[in-house]
C-alpha cells in the first residue's frame, strides 16, 4: 500500500504522497526568485555546471530532447539552439509556477517554434516509448519522490542510442571540503534564503534534500538497475555536484 510508505522531505520523514505536495509548495514559493538565488548560492558556478552538462549532452541539429524538471528554462534555451529549427526540445516540469516562469523567460529570449512546454510527473512521463534522443534533468531528481520509477520512465521514452544526463548535488570528495560545505549549506544558505527570497524554510529544505540524495556511486547503481549502460559520472567542483551519464542501447 502506497499510503503507508514514508519517504524523506529534507531530514523529516513524511508520507509518500505528502512529499510531492510539499516539494510543490517549496517551488511555488521560490519560482520567481529561483535564478537569482541560484546565482547567489553557487556564486554563479551553476552556469558553468550547466554548460558542462550541455557540452556532454551531444545534442545535434534535428534531434528531439527532453529537459525534465527544466524549471526556468536555462538548459532548454541552450538545447533549443543546438537542436535547431528542425529539432525539438520539450521543457517539462511538474510545477506549473516554474513552467510559467520558464515559458515567459524563453519567449523573452526569442526562443520559440522548436520548444514545447509540458507539465508532467517524471515518474510517469506522458510520451511514447523510444521518443527522445537525449534527456537532461538538472537539479531536479532529488525532489522526485520515487526516483527508481522516474529513472525507469526516462529509460522507456529514450530512443536506443540515446543518453540521459543527470546534473545533481552530490557528495563532496575533495579533502577538507565537506566541513566547509556543511557550514555553508546549514548556516549561510538558509540565511541567504531569508535575506533574498524571504523564505528560509524552502532553502533549508534545499540544503537538507541535498544531503538525503544518493551519492555518486549509489546513483550510478540506480541507473544501471533500470537498464542504462555505459554509466559514468564526472565530479564537478570537488564533488559538490556530479554529472551522471547513462546510455540506452
Amino acid at each position: 500500500m502506497t499510503d503507508d510508505k514514508t519517504t524523506h522531505f529534507g531530514f523529516e520523514q513524511v508520507g509518500w504522497d505528502e512529499k510531492a505536495r510539499r516539494v510543490g509548495a517549496v517551488f511555488d514559493s521560490v519560482a520567481h526568485k529561483y535564478d537569482i538565488m541560484n546565482d547567489v548560492m553557487s556564486l554563479g558556478i551553476h552556469r558553468l555546471w550547466k554548460r558542462i552538462a550541455i557540452e556532454l549532452s551531444g545534442v545535434r541539429t534535428g534531434q528531439r530532447v527532453l529537459d525534465l524538471a527544466g524549471g526556468t528554462g536555462d538548459l532548454a534555451a541552450r538545447l533549443a539552439r543546438m537542436a535547431g529549427p528542425e529539432g525539438e526540445v520539450v521543457l517539462a516540469d511538474i510545477n506549473a509556477s516554474m513552467l510559467q516562469v520558464g515559458r515567459a523567460r524563453l519567449l523573452d529570449q526569442g526562443i520559440a517554434g522548436n520548444v514545447r512546454f509540458v507539465q508532467a510527473n517524471a515518474e510517469r512521463l506522458p510520451f511514447p516509448d523510444n521518443h527522445f534522443d537525449c534527456i537532461t534533468i538538472a537539479f531536479g531528481l532529488r525532489n522526485v519522490t520515487d526516483k527508481d520509477a522516474a529513472l525507469a520512465s526516462m529509460y522507456r521514452v529514450l530512443k536506443p542510442g540515446g543518453r540521459l544526463l543527470i546534473l545533481e548535488f552530490s557528495k563532496p570528495r575533495a579533502p577538507g571540503l565537506a566541513p566547509l560545505y556543511d557550514f555553508y549549506s546549514f548556516k549561510i544558505l538558509p540565511l541567504m534564503g531569508k535575506l533574498i527570497a524571504n523564505d528560509p524554510a524552502s532553502y533549508q529544505y534545499l540544503a537538507e534534500s541535498i544531503r538525503m540524495h544518493p551519492d555518486q556511486d549509489r546513483l550510478r547503481a540506480m541507473l544501471e538497475q533500470v537498464g542504462f549502460e555505459d554509466c559514468s559520472y564526472h565530479n564537478l567542483s570537488g564533488g559538490i555536484v556530479a554529472l551522471h551519464r547513462g546510455f540506452k542501447y
Binding site: 558553468l48 558542462i52 557540452e55 551531444g58 545535434r60 541539429t61 539552439r81 543546438m82 529570449q109
Partner: protein, 208 residues
C-alpha cells in the same frame, strides 16, 4: 589537432561576442538568418576549437560538439582576425593563412557579419556613465581623431617637401621623368649608332 576548449573559455568567448553583438541590431538580424547552422573555429597555436551556434540574439559558444559542423574555419588567431576585418578576405584564404571547409556560403555569411560589426563605443560607454558623459567623450574622441588626421596629412606634406627641396635626398616627379626621357633618348641613339656601324661593317666586307 586542437582539443575542445574548456567550458569557461567557451563561456567567456560567448559573453564577449554577445556584448559586441548586443550593440549592433543589423548584425543580430544577420546572425538570426544563420540560425540552425554550426560553425567550428579552430584556433591554431592556441590549440583551441570552438563551436558557434548563431541565433537572433547573438551566438552560443560550445567547446565540445559531437555533430558535424556546417562550416569549419581553421587558422592562427591573427589570420582569423584579418579574415574578419580585411576588405579583401580572399587574400587571407589564398595566402593559406585560413582554411575554410564545408559550407562556404555559411562561412562567407559569418565572415561578412564579423566585417559588418561596428561597435558603438559611445552606446557601450553610456551604459556605464550615462548619456551626457558618453556623448561628451564621443565628441572629444571624434575631435581628437579629426585633429590627428589633419596632423597626419600636414606631417606627410612637410616631410615630402623637406626631402625634395631642402635635403635634396629625393628628386621630384618632373625631374625623374625628364631624366628617364633622356635615358630613353640615349638608348635609341646608341641603337641607331650600332645599326649604322653594322651597315658600315657589311659594306667594308663586300668591298674586300
Amino acid at each position: 589537432m586542437p582539443g575542445p576548449a574548456p567550458a569557461w573559455v567557451a563561456g567567456a568567448v560567448e559573453t564577449a561576442c554577445n556584448t559586441a553583438f548586443a550593440l549592433d541590431p543589423e548584425v543580430r538580424a544577420r546572425l538570426g538568418a544563420l540560425t540552425g547552422k554550426v560553425i567550428a573555429l579552430e584556433l591554431l597555436g592556441l590549440g583551441l576549437r570552438l563551436y558557434l551556434f548563431p541565433h537572433a540574439q547573438g551566438v552560443q559558444v560550445l567547446g565540445h560538439y559531437e555533430g558535424e559542423p556546417d562550416t569549419e574555419l581553421r587558422g592562427a588567431p591573427l589570420s582569423l582576425l584579418r579574415l574578419g576585418l580585411s576588405d579583401r578576405p580572399a587574400d587571407e584564404l589564398f595566402a593559406g593563412g585560413v582554411e575554410l571547409r564545408g559550407d562556404t556560403a555559411t562561412g562567407q555569411a559569418f565572415q561578412d557579419i564579423l566585417r559588418a560589426l561596428r561597435i558603438d563605443w559611445e552606446e557601450l560607454l553610456a551604459r556605464i556613465t550615462g548619456d551626457d558623459i558618453a556623448h561628451q567623450a564621443g565628441r572629444a574622441t571624434r575631435a581628437a581623431r579629426e585633429q590627428a588626421h589633419r596632423m597626419g596629412d600636414t606631417l606627410a606634406l612637410d616631410l615630402s617637401e623637406y626631402l625634395h627641396e631642402e635635403a635634396g635626398v629625393l628628386v621630384t616627379r618632373p625631374e625623374i621623368e625628364s631624366f628617364l626621357d633622356a635615358v630613353d633618348g640615349l638608348r635609341s641613339d646608341a641603337d641607331r649608332l650600332a645599326a649604322r656601324l653594322r651597315r658600315l661593317e657589311v659594306a667594308l666586307a663586300v668591298r674586300r
